[in-house]
């Protein structure tokens, strides 16, 4: 699966209304991402990168344009079908970790698996496995209040990875973390791409993360300024970065 096209967006346009003024945030953006690759979207605040992944992941409908995710046209689906698509295929990691304060690390992961119709015993096994993979095998029973920021983000990653998503979206996953924790987190995202074959799309303005990217896209003012492959998938010709 590695190297195959996972997501393709054409002509994405989105503007927000602020008062009576229409403020464009995405201007006819074309975008692709491949399985087994970490695609990093970089750019200053307000460049439209968060809106881009919201549109790519089915969280926010663009005004115009099309998103083909895993071969399906995302925005032609009904709302419930989009939810189901995300449940089946998408993982998310946010800047804030968004863990339920009442649940311990294992329960956080199990909670999501429950909705994926995974049986109880199997969910527990997969939760422990996912937490072990992110190095939290000693912290299975801790609630968020007993975990450091880095550990919380690792729980959030385990929660996202436990579903075996084919698309993994991360929005500023390291910006609330110190550099060591940040390194651990980006390595985990990198591994998700390489070992699980997920298409990992990371929005960040942390330049330290570039070292782990297979491809770096720079955005500004709602447009893609540059698109550079560090490792080009085999079937992508050098002349056509946007497929």
């Amino acid at each position: 699966m590695t190297g195959k096209l996972a997501i393709e967006a054409k002509g994405l346009t989105k503007s927000y209304k602020i008062g009576k003024i229409k403020q464009p945030v995405l201007k006819e953006v074309n975008f692709t991402a491949y399985h087994g690759q970490v695609t990093m979207v970089m750019g200053p605040s307000g460049s439209g990168k968060s809106t881009l992944i919201a549109a790519l992941s089915g969280l926010m409908k663009p005004d115009e344009g099309e998103v083909i995710a895993l071969g399906e046209s995302l925005w032609k689906k009904k709302k419930a079908k989009i939810d189901q698509f995300r449940l089946d295929h998408c993982g998310f990691i946010f800047q804030g970790f968004n863990l339920f304060p009442a649940l311990n690390a294992t329960q956080q992961v199990e909670q999501v698996l429950k909705y994926c119709k995974v049986k109880k015993g199997e969910a527990k096994k997969r939760a422990v496995q996912a937490l072990t993979e992110v190095g939290l095998d000693k912290r299975l029973k801790q609630t968020p209040s007993a975990l450091s920021g880095g550990e919380k983000q690792r729980v959030a990653i385990a929660r996202a990875l436990s579903k075996n998503p084919q698309l993994l979206f991360a929005d500023e996953p390291t910006s609330a973390l110190d550099s060591v924790s940040g390194q651990v987190v980006i390595k985990l995202l990198h591994r998700a791409a390489k070992e699980h074959g997920a298409a990992v799309i990371v929005v960040t303005h942390d330049p330290r993360l570039e070292a782990y990217a297979d491809r770096v896209i720079h955005m500004e003012d709602g447009q893609i300024l540059s698109d550079t492959f560090v490792n080009r998938p085999e079937d992508v010709p050098p002349s056509a970065p946007h497929a």
């Binding site: 969280l59 939810d83 189901q84 995300r86 339920f100 909705y115």
Partner: protein
Amino acid sequence: MSLALSTLIYEWRRYMAAVIALAVAGLLVLSLVGMFMGIGKNFTATIDRSPADLMVLPPDSQGFGSSQPRRNIPTLYQHPEVVEVMPYTQRWAMWANFPSPGQSAKRDGVQVIIVDPIAGAVTLPNDFPEDVILALQEPYSVVVDATSLAKLGVKVGDKAQMNGRTVNVRATITNYPSLFNSMVFMSRQTAKLLNLYDEGPRVGSLLVKLRDPARAAIVAKELNDMGNKQFRAWTREDLARENQAEMFKESFIVIMLGFMLIVGVFIGVVITWQTLQGAILANIKEFASLRALGVSMGNLNLIIMELSFWVGVAGLLMTGILLVGVTALANAVGLTMFYPLWSIITIAIMLLTIAVISGLLSLGVLKKSQPADLLR
């Protein structure tokens, strides 16, 4: 443990306002019911603890008060299973103490209950101890409930005046408190000496003892057939139930209870709803992250509904705890509280309904869990 229950336990402080609001709403209604029922229970204490298997009342009456012809007594004896028939006699008398120096004089109307102080007599309540029965056998001796002593201005061993004649307070009993007029027990003989007993043509209720108490319901029916609507025989349970039901036909009690119920439900819903909303808003990002991961809105709604159900259960437990306290407090001032099972079930349903309605009202807040807002 589910997410809803873990959240309630972990963040119990956040939900405390709702739990207390529910508990107070429950307590408000239940303590009022308990008080009315307790007062009713006091009025019927002598029925409840009578050794009589059947009560025979005038055909149109449920309470002890109206009268029937004395000739019903021999009619009842015609049934082969009837062993003893005695009239239940209750009278009113004026009570006055002989104040000792420094003590204030007390004058009060009292209910006089006439018993036959012989162990096993059908008029003698079955919880009177041996020494009380012996004390009642003395002429001019009376027995009162321990909680009535202060109200009557006497202690055991004192003399007092009833209808102008001197009586001796010889002993006390417990479990016969009265919020209004105190109950004074005396023998039929003493009652005659005080001119409180007459053997006229009419009697109040009749207390009937049967050979086999287990056949009470059958004999009651047979007696009623025999009596040809001249009287009506009741088993003790039926009469107590009828008295309770009768009490709630009193319009002022129904109005008060109805009002309390509406106030309770309103307070409960408003506070629980607002508390739930606040609590959901506090976790809105977590809910949004579940939305992002593909958990449907319907499933999030279910979490909230389960949470509100558990808040209702917690409110119910809290009602129980508060009720024990209120009951203890009431008993300390001599007020009997009695909570029939139906009132407890009604309140349990009421609290859970309030919680569920509040949950439904709070669902709107979940719409704010827009996962796109988590991206910045």
